[in-house]
Amino acid sequence: MQKLNARNHKEISSSDFERLLQRLAPERNLAGEKYERLRWTLIQFFEFNSCSSAEDLADEALNRVARKLDEENVRDIDAFTWGVAKNIRQEAQNKTRKLIAISELPCQGDSLPAETDTEKEIQNQIDLKRRLGCLETCLLRLGTYDRDIFLRYYNPTENSSLERQVLADSLGLTIGALRIKIIRMRERLQKCTCRCSASMWYIPGESHLLSNRTSETDE
């Protein structure tokens, strides 16, 4: 990755960046939104294709596109960006093939002796309880309206496409808009839970976090 960056990643000039924004939309705020959307799409593309450092690769793709706009007449920016992304994917995958994953080594990465099962089990139970407490708290932070939507979307008895369509209809949303909403919420929840589990405590039965900090301002 570092080699890839060293070879290809030149700092994008402000004029190239401005040209890219201008190309995405004449109005600056809208251009910013489209830029972020394109970057998000690129990140997902690289993640779907099992490329490590997806965010770096997405930035690299955007930089290349911005530079190319000066040299080439690009008609369809989405298709062009996809083409650039495919090239970067190829380069990244060629590099990855040269690496050996730890799990493929003879000892399969399990070089430490196994812990005693009971101890591990107790530790896992404590950890699970703490993480569930964190999840509960993070769900509360979503607010009643969003939390209800999220729980209904993932309610095991309402898992079919039809049920989700009904939920979207009841909210006055398209199924696509509902999916985006849920995906964003799930991402936020995952990040919140992860951060919480790493740094906070909770009281069982309560939905309040006990933090090292004296205020909860991290959202």
Partner: protein, 326 residues
């Protein structure tokens, strides 16, 4: 291609089974349309959920393990999905979303009705306006009367605090469980709500919004030394603190369940909490952690007595912890 076929294709794409042509078509689609990407991400989440629930076929599960879980980020997604499946909401919630929407629709209907302007709608609009004016007047009267009889509001006026400002800290002391909104299965009972008076005036600081510190943490070590050598931890309560979390550090974990009682040194018990279980504190060490409303604490010395509950039900002394509120 129908929805089910698309879902199968997307699943194959995520598991690395799609042909080059299929892959290209999908990618082209989601670069053009945001909804297509959302659908793919949704299928990805469903795939992960199906894996952790054990709903995939053996072949799919093998591919998922071999091809999908190949990065730390994806492992995190899988771990989170595992957590989600273990999460059970405390109560089955009513579909509030529909209710809110219905309320919004009711208001929309009223507005549309008034806007359409039939002969009777004028009368109804007048009646509605009169109703609103009347309700506003009654609320105003009630608020003024409340200010006249509210001793804390008067106290606020004498100490320079705006009595009209909403502040839970300047209200009359209430029972513990309701003031903090704790709905804990463990029992937290207040025995001394009366002593909150003098400290309340000190704590009636200005509301600072979301940045206001509301939880104060305190880690206490077991009090091995006694008498004059004992060094008590200090707790300085900010004016906006609503609750105090107390972590009682444990030298050894001897019991599965504990109970803790808090009392003033040479004074009345303040509160007690039972059915406490061992957790890890922020240093990863075993501790008993519980929370109490800040308004129960006044300046002075406190002692927490910890008891361990043996399997037989026998209650044993598990140590004492002291601290001082300043």
């Amino acid at each position: 291609m129908n929805s089910a076929q698309r879902k199968r294709l997307m699943t194959r794409y995520l598991l690395g089974d799609a042909s080059d042509k299929e892959r290209a078509a999908l990618e082209k689609g989601y670069f053009r349309k945001r909804d297509a990407l959302a659908e793919l991400l949704s299928v990805e989440n469903d795939l992960i959920d199906a894996f952790v629930r054990g709903d995939l076929t053996v072949e799919e599960a093998d591919k998922f393990r071999d091809r999908y879980i190949n990065s730390a980020k994806r492992r995190e997604k899988v771990e989170f999905a595992r957590l989600l499946t273990k999460y059970a909401p405390p109560v089955k919630r009513e579909p509030k979303v529909a209710t809110q929407r219905k309320r919004a629709l009711d208001w929309q209907n009223i507005l549309v009705f008034l806007r359409n302007g039939s002969s009777s709608s004028g009368i109804l609009a007048g009646g509605l306006a009169l109703g609103i004016i009347g309700a506003t007047f009654l609320i105003g009267v009630a608020t003024r009367q409340r200010h006249n009889i509210d001793p804390t509001a008067q106290q606020g006026a004498t100490t320079g605090v705006d009595p009209s400002r909403p502040s839970s800290q300047s209200s009359i002391p209430k029972p513990v469980a309701s003031t903090e909104g704790i709905s804990s299965p463990t029992s937290l009972t207040s025995r001394n709500p009366k002593g909150a008076g003098p400290a309340q005036a000190l704590r009636s600081g200005p509301p600072l919004g979301r940045l206001t510190p509301t939880i104060v943490s305190l880690i206490l070590m077991p009090n091995h030394t006694r008498g004059a050598e004992a060094q008590a931890a200090s707790l300085i309560l900010s004016t906006t603190a609503k609750s105090v979390s107390i972590a009682l550090s444990l030298d050894k974990v001897k019991y599965e369940r504990y109970s803790a009682s808090l009392k003033r040194v040479a004074g009345d018990p303040v509160c007690e909490q039972s059915d406490l279980r061992v957790q890890l504190d922020r240093h990863g060490l075993p501790a008993i952690i519980f929370r109490i409303p800040a308004k129960l604490l006044q300046e002075g010395d406190y002692v927490v007595k910890l008891s361990g509950v043996a399997d037989t039900g026998e209650i044993n002394d598990a140590g004492g912890y002291v601290f001082t509120v300043r």
